[in-house]
């Protein structure tokens, strides 16, 4: 076989992968744990800030998947 399938071949594919992995890193250790320590005790609209932070990342990740679908990646 020729080229590996692990490397995206289109610009939209590349953007999708980088955006997804970048956002996912924000929801994983060590970043997620550092954020939790930094904003412990804070709230956003009555909700724990860390809960809102992770929720925002999850919805952003879903946004990346929908964008990839729209771009037919």
């Amino acid at each position: 076989m020729g080229r590996s399938h692990y490397v995206p071949r289109t610009a939209a594919g590349f953007v999708s992968v980088v955006a997804f992995l970048g956002l996912m890193a924000l929801a994983q250790p060590p970043l997620a744990f550092w954020v939790e320590r930094s904003i412990a005790g804070m709230s956003v609209l009555g909700l724990p800030a860390f809960y809102v932070y992770l929720g925002g990342i999850y919805f952003s990740l879903i946004g990346v998947l929908l964008w990839a679908l729209w771009k037919r990646v």
Binding site: M1, G2, R9, P29, L65
Partner: protein, 507 residues
Amino acid sequence: MESWIVATGLIFAYILVTIVLGFLANRAMTVDLEDFLLYGRQAGFVVLYLTVVASYHSAFAFLGSGGFFYTHGIGFWEAGTWTVLVGAITYTLGVRIWALGKRFRYITPAEMLADFYESEAVRVVVALVSVLFTILYIQVQAQGLGYIISVASGDRISFELGTLVLLIVAGGYLMAGGLRAVYWTDVIQGVWMYVAVWAGALVLAERLFGGPFALWRRVAAERPDLLRLPGPEGFFTPGMWIGMSVALSFGIVLQPHMMIRYYTATSGRVIKWLGATTPIFLMTLYIPAAMVGLGGALILPDLATPDRIFPELLVMYAPAWLTGLILAGATAAAMSTLDSILHANMTVLTRDVYQRYVAPDRDAGHYVWVGRGIVLGLLVIGYVLSVNTYGFLVTLVTLSGAGALQLLPGTLGVCYPTRRPLSKAGVLAGIGAGMIALYWTLVVVPHPLGMHAAIWSLASNFTACLVVSRLTAPPTPETVERIHGAIEDYVYGSGDEGLGEGLGVSG
């Protein structure tokens, strides 16, 4: 009328509906293995969406997640990570599995791996690993069903009897209608469970705290330890966080009941739609679960079995009719996964073991009956396990996922062409090393250095697989060209049209 009669009666009314659906599916079924095992590869977006989310979310999500929030706090909100990962894996890997299944008429995951690696040993090992670890998943659902019935009836129906009755119902409609019955009931169960968990959480939050925001404020004021990492018992360390993310995403997708669903889609585009949209359902189900678990920790702080927090709160603080409807939703969550796993294991054992090695040349009707016998055997095993051993539902599911995770290197080797393919010896060595590491890091030295056993086992698996593959012969060039060529053509060439499929996404 006493409240327990109302609640239990509504659960049994729901069960009656599923039995009727199973009966109707049986009338629509033809004596055809692809119909019985794969819904004739005709599942459109709506049906497949609801059956995937209903199968993924089970007693684990409905009961277990509340129990984990209750005990370990907000760390369980990492659940969003694995639900989104499931979407991404479906989008990228699932569509390749679908394309290969369509092109080469695979029915089970083991058929795909055995074909590529040209190995009967791979077929048997993959089939056994698939079945072995998903039996734990059967136990989880059986255990959840027992909790629901015993709590709803005020312990008038014992855990053991409730489990037995619901196992018989799920097994019965599956044996009657095959995957068609599973899909039809999953459609109802998927909708019901989602509405039920949200309705239950919001009603409880309103009644007990004056609303969801007030609930969160009370938790922050009275149990701030539940809003910190690693949680009151120190569970959510970085290693556990990553391990659970991997085990409950890749590990669940690689279980046969999920992989077989990919084969059933009408087109690859349907799979991509699934990948992009199922995380919305999967992730948002944990929002009400967090309210139930964290709020429950304030109201009933000393519960002996945390997984029972949701039904216990409902029975104590919600109207009986609503409790019945919501617990019917919980029953739906457990049964929809239970029937899917039973079906998948039946498919694997019938196709990969019985039809292959025991009785290869029988008619389709014979295999359908053998499949039904296998379901019966699995029900017995699931029942015995559920009434004899107990564990956190989440813990059991994670272990199940960690086992199925051992199929990852081999599956990636089939679906992702590379310059040097993996070899059958490499895949088998990897699974062996992964299993040994899983046993060692779960039983002998649990989660060394705070890292979940799933990570240790997967790392061992990949290492052994890559090293041995470098030293042994890969599949023949003809096979590699045939299968990787099909993937190359599908992904970067003709797409769905090349497989004779349109892009329709309707149900």
